[in-house]
Structures are given as structure tokens and as C-alpha cells.
């Protein structure tokens, strides 16, 4: 088992994919955080539908929003998602899955080892994302004379929960990739569903006033995990937020989604002929 895990980890780090995507994601995360930080103290951050401006005054909730801005926007989540899809579908596309199963014919050992590698690369991405977001966000805040609040434990807790978010999003991609296998189709469907699909559903649920349903969307679950302090300081109506009351409830549901995909994908992969 140990050998298979080392092998799977080496696989991740011996092609350019991981750092190319990490670099792209970090740049994007830094810029989005910078943009969010620029809204602090202005009226441009006002939510037109509710008239509430979460960026009105700098507080811990706003800091959580800024330092996880890419994830809250449901934009940088696409990177771990796509990475997870690519790591497994690449094995089928380049037929390296043959060598993998010949080296380790007990497939569940391969799948568990791959999951360990997926968790590890998820953590690496989380650290890269946090570093870039803090750099971009804090630079803008400091430049505008706002406190960065980087000494607040609630801010760090949120960044810590971000690690879990990254692991889960990578695992979502990994599980989905096992189910679809065709690389191009899997990436397009996964990214399309989580970007366009979620935006569309959010709009539909908002129009229908189905906040309860919107809470179950993966993007909103991610937001619910990361924002543990209300940025509006009570000005907004908490019931209108598409977040569950407790961050851990969001986390459990999101982990559940990833587990269902990974288990279903693994069951299929373990049985299927490799031709």
C-alpha cells in the first residue's frame, strides 16, 4: 500500500499539469481578492437585490470574504475540480491505467492510493490559494489604510476550513472523472455544471424564493463553510442567505457529495475491463 501511495503522489508531481494550473489559479485568486478588498468602504459592494452592502465597513466577516474571494465567487473552485477530473481521466486518455493496474492489480489499493494523492494535492492547492488571496487582499487593504485583520483567529479558521474545501472539490472532480472517463467530456461537463449550472440554478431558486434549495448547491455550501462571521454585522437578513446556519453542516453535506461520487466511481472502476 505504501508503495502504491508513493507512486500515485509521484505521478501527480511528474507532469507540468499541477503547477501550471496552480499558477493560473493563484494569479486569479490574488486578483479576485484584490478586487474584493478594493470594494471595502465603497458603495460598489452593495447587493442590488437586497440593498445590503457587506463591504460597508471592514470586519472579520469581510476579511473572510476577501481572503476566500475566489472560492466564494465559485470561480477558483473550478481549478481543483478540473485537476481532480484530469488526474484520473488522464490515465485513461494516455492508457497509463494499464501500467497502473499491472503494477498494482488490486484495484481498491490503487483507488485508495489515488485518493490519498488527491487529498495531498488538494492541500497544496489550498495553501497556494490562501497565500495568493492573502497577498492580493492584504496588499489592497493596507494600501487603502484598512486593517488586514490577519491577526484574527476567525480569519485563520476560515483559511483552515478552506483546505477542506479544496480537498473536497478535488475529490468531486476525481469521482466525477471515474464515472465519465472521457477527458474532454468530463472536464466540460464538470466545469459547465459547476459554473453555468450553479449560476442558473441560483437565479431560478432566487426567483422561486427557494432559499432552502439554493443552500444545497455545492458553491453555496462552500461559501457557508468559509464565512463564519456575518460581514454585514446583522444588517442583512440571515434567512435570505443561501447558507446553512452552521459551517460544519455545509461541510458535511459537501463531503457527502464528494464521497458519493468517489464511491460510485470507484465501484465502477474496480469492476470495469481495461481494454
Amino acid at each position: 500500500m505504501g508503495g502504491a501511495i508513493v507512486s500515485e503522489i509521484r505521478k501527480v508531481f511528474t507532469t507540468r499539469l499541477w503547477w501550471a494550473m496552480l499558477l493560473g489559479m493563484a494569479v486569479l485568486a490574488g486578483l479576485i481578492a484584490l478586487g474584493f478588498a478594493a470594494l471595502v468602504g465603497t458603495e460598489f459592494g452593495e447587493d442590488p437585490s437586497t440593498g445590503v452592502n457587506p463591504f460597508a465597513t471592514m470586519n472579520v466577516g469581510v476579511a473572510q470574504l476577501i481572503y476566500n474571494a475566489g472560492l466564494i465567487q465559485n470561480f477558483t473552485t473550478l481549478f481543483p475540480l478540473a485537476l481532480g477530473v484530469l488526474l484520473i481521466t488522464g490515465e485513461y486518455r494516455h492508457q497509463t491505467i494499464t501500467a497502473t493496474f499491472l503494477s498494482t492489480p488490486r484495484r481498491w489499493v490503487v483507488l485508495v492510493s489515488k485518493s490519498v494523492a488527491v487529498v495531498l494535492i488538494g492541500v497544496v492547492y489550498a495553501v497556494g490559494h490562501a497565500a495568493a488571496s492573502v497577498a492580493g487582499g492584504a496588499a489592497m487593504l493596507a494600501g487603502k489604510g484598512h486593517p488586514t485583520l490577519l491577526d484574527d483567529p476567525e480569519v485563520w479558521r476560515s483559511l483552515g476550513i478552506g483546505v477542506l474545501a479544496f480537498v473536497v472539490w478535488t475529490m468531486l472532480g476525481f469521482g466525477f472523472g471515474m464515472l465519465v472517463r472521457n477527458q474532454v467530456a468530463a472536464v466540460l461537463i464538470a466545469v459547465g455544471a459547476s459554473l453555468i449550472g450553479q449560476i442558473a440554478l441560483n437565479i431560478i431558486f432566487a426567483i422561486a424564493d427557494w432559499t432552502w434549495a439554493a443552500k444545497w448547491l455545492p458553491g453555496n455550501l462552500t461559501g457557508g463553510m468559509l464565512i463564519t462571521v456575518d460581514p454585514t454585522g446583522g444588517a442583512g437578513d440571515p434567512a435570505a442567505q443561501p447558507y446553512f446556519e452552521h459551517w460544519w453542516l455545509s461541510a458535511i453535506i459537501l463531503v457527502g457529495y464528494a464521497a458519493v461520487l468517489a464511491v460510485a466511481g470507484s465501484a465502477l472502476t474496480a469492476r470495469r475491463d481495461v481494454t
Binding site: 508503495g3 502504491a4 508513493v6 507512486s7 509521484r10 505521478k11 511528474t14 507532469t15 507540468r16 499539469l17 488522464g90 494516455h94 492508457q95 497509463t96 494499464t98 501500467a99 493496474f101 499491472l102 503494477s103 498494482t104 492489480p105 488490486r106 469492476r271 475491463d273 481495461v274 481494454t275
Partner: protein, 318 residues
């Protein structure tokens, strides 16, 4: 590195069948591959060779029957790379990963020292390209990398699917030498090909399949020996008729001689004597294996034996 025992390294395929939907890719196939010998696994493209090898290696689940190596199914072999080396297709490399990293990824699973990786790269002549991405490798280099991967765990059994594909004549010569060297160490070697001439000079035994069924199985020397003989007499048609009762088919050649489907010169001579026909010439004709292979496989595809076929197509062991 751990050494894994796989019995004597004998490969046993027994009543192996694989159906994909309506298509029967492998049909009740039975044969054995002996240690210390190179066995050619031959058949036209689409005959079921790759599917058979993939079932042997646990990648494809048989519909029925078994395929074992040293009495064990592949997934029951504790450290398979140290027992069975295999190279299935020359395209099985991530184009963005270096040849050396590809081998390291495999070596990790079986705790094989990374020095062995460099040794193997040296042995197959890839040391210079080892740190280059495999996407830039030529077909010949991929085949060599595949062989290096197969040899990584110093296995007792070597299974190679079309290793000569894409090799230039020099590469094929190199491959022959390599296989000879490996089998001289007492290893079991099973090598598939859709072209007889690629392996004709290398293999000791031969397993020929077509449409998933066994066509012929035996030692190469015996296969050479299923020759026919040429006989010349005054009345060829009469001799042809006299040979029929002893199950020897004969065909009239343009020059008036007969080509008889038996290498038993004594039998043919006796039959001619019994029929009161003079024998003007009687000699063995060494069969061209390529045409034999062609007729065997083509004959199966056409349903029943082609007329030109001088060899049986009943699949009996020789």
C-alpha cells in the same frame, strides 16, 4: 527488491472465453506456455491476442475459463512486477512525463530501487533520452521503454504484445537478441505478433489463433516439419487416387508432378509401389511458413480450410 515465486513460471490458459456483447473475442481457448522457451502468440489482427493477454494479466475479466501464471491468477501474485513483466502497447505513456519518471512511478509500487531504473534505461539504450518527455519519443524508443518497464522487477515471466510493431529492421534484430538473452536465463517468454516473419527466427513454440479460437499449438520445429512432399510419376492422377485412401491429399502441379500433404516419404513410396506406379522423384518440400500461417488464419476466416492448405486446421496439438 522482492522476488516473487510464480511456480515454474508456466502460463496455463484453460477454456478461456470472453464475450463483448454479441462478439466472442476469445472462444474456449486452451494452451500452455513453457518456462525457458520463447513462445510466439500469433494470429491476424483482431484474432483475440490482446484480449487473451489482458485476461491473463487481470485487466479484462474472462466470461469463463481461467488464465494463470505459475498456477496463480495475476491479481493473486503478491508483487506482480517482480514476477511477471509485461509490455502491452507502445503508447501507454503520459506524453508529459519523462521515461525515467515513468519507470520510477512503476518502481515505487514494488519498492524497486531507483538505481535499477537507470540500469534498465541503460540496458535498452535509452539512457540519453531518459530525462526527456516521452511525448517526443519515436515508436522504437517507446518499445524500448516498454521493455525496460517489463524488465524492471527482474521477472521470471515476460509477456510482450506486438513488441516488434514500429521497429526498424535494426530494432527487430536488437529485439531478437534481447529475447534470446532473456530466455537463456530460463525465463518464460510469451510474445504476440500478427506477422509470422517477425518472430519466425526467434520463437521455440508457437500458438496460433484466429477469430478467438486455437488454430495450432506446438513446437516451431514440428510446425516446420508438417511439410509436404513432391512426387513425380508416370500417371499422376492414378497416384492421387491411390493416396486418397491413406488420407494424403495431393494436388497436381503445372509441371506434372504431385504435391502430397505428407512428409512421410516411405508411405508415399509404398503407395506408389502398391499401385504399380514408378517413382521418378520423391523429396520433401519445406513449407513456406508464411504461406502456412496465411492459409491457417485465412482458412479460418473463410470458414473452412482453403484448398491450397497443406496443413491441418483442426487445432490438435502437435
Amino acid at each position: 527488491m522482492t522476488t516473487t515465486e510464480v511456480g515454474g513460471g508456466r502460463i496455463e490458459v484453460e477454456r478461456l472465453t470472453k464475450r463483448f456483447g454479441d462478439l466472442t473475442a476469445v472462444d474456449d481457448l486452451t494452451f500452455t506456455v513453457e518456462p525457458g522457451r520463447i513462445t510466439g502468440f500469433l494470429g491476424p489482427n483482431g484474432a483475440g491476442k490482446t484480449t487473451t493477454l489482458r485476461m491473463l494479466l487481470g485487466l479484462v475479466r474472462p466470461t469463463s475459463g481461467t488464465a494463470t501464471i505459475g498456477g496463480r491468477q495475476y491479481h493473486d501474485i503478491p508483487s506482480p512486477l517482480a514476477a511477471v513483466g509485461s509490455a502491452l502497447e507502445a503508447t501507454n505513456f503520459h506524453p508529459g512525463r519523462t521515461g525515467r519518471d515513468h519507470l520510477k512511478v512503476m518502481a515505487d509500487t514494488t519498492h524497486i530501487d531507483h538505481r535499477r531504473v537507470d540500469e534498465m534505461l541503460e540496458q535498452v539504450g535509452l539512457a540519453d533520452a531518459a530525462r526527456k518527455r516521452a511525448g517526443g519519443y519515436s515508436m522504437g524508443m517507446r518499445q524500448r521503454l516498454g521493455l525496460a518497464a517489463a524488465m524492471l522487477g527482474d521477472p521470471q515471466v515476460l509477456i510482450l504484445d506486438e513488441p516488434a510493431n514500429g521497429l526498424d529492421p535494426e530494432g527487430i534484430r536488437w529485439l531478437r537478441g534481447f529475447l534470446r538473452h532473456v530466455s537463456s536465463q530460463g525465463k518464460t517468454v510469451l510474445v504476440s505478433s500478427h506477422m509470422l516473419q517477425e518472430v519466425e527466427q526467434t520463437v521455440d513454440d508457437i500458438v496460433i489463433i484466429a477469430q478467438g479460437r486455437l488454430v495450432k499449438h506446438g513446437a516451431m520445429s514440428d510446425l516446420h516439419g508438417t511439410g509436404s512432399s513432391l512426387v513425380r510419376t508416370t500417371d499422376a492422377e492414378a497416384l492421387m487416387a491411390a493416396l486418397r485412401p491413406v488420407d494424403v491429399a495431393a494436388s497436381l502441379q503445372p509441371d506434372g508432378s504431385l504435391l502430397a500433404s505428407s512428409a512421410d516419404l516411405q508411405l508415399i513410396g509404398d503407395v506408389a509401389l502398391g499401385a504399380g506406379l514408378p517413382v521418378h522423384e520423391l523429396r520433401l518440400v519445406s513449407t513456406d511458413l508464411e504461406s502456412l500461417f496465411f492459409s491457417l488464419t485465412e482458412g479460418q476466416e473463410l470458414g473452412q480450410g482453403a484448398e491450397a492448405s497443406p496443413a491441418p486446421t483442426d487445432g490438435t496439438e502437435l
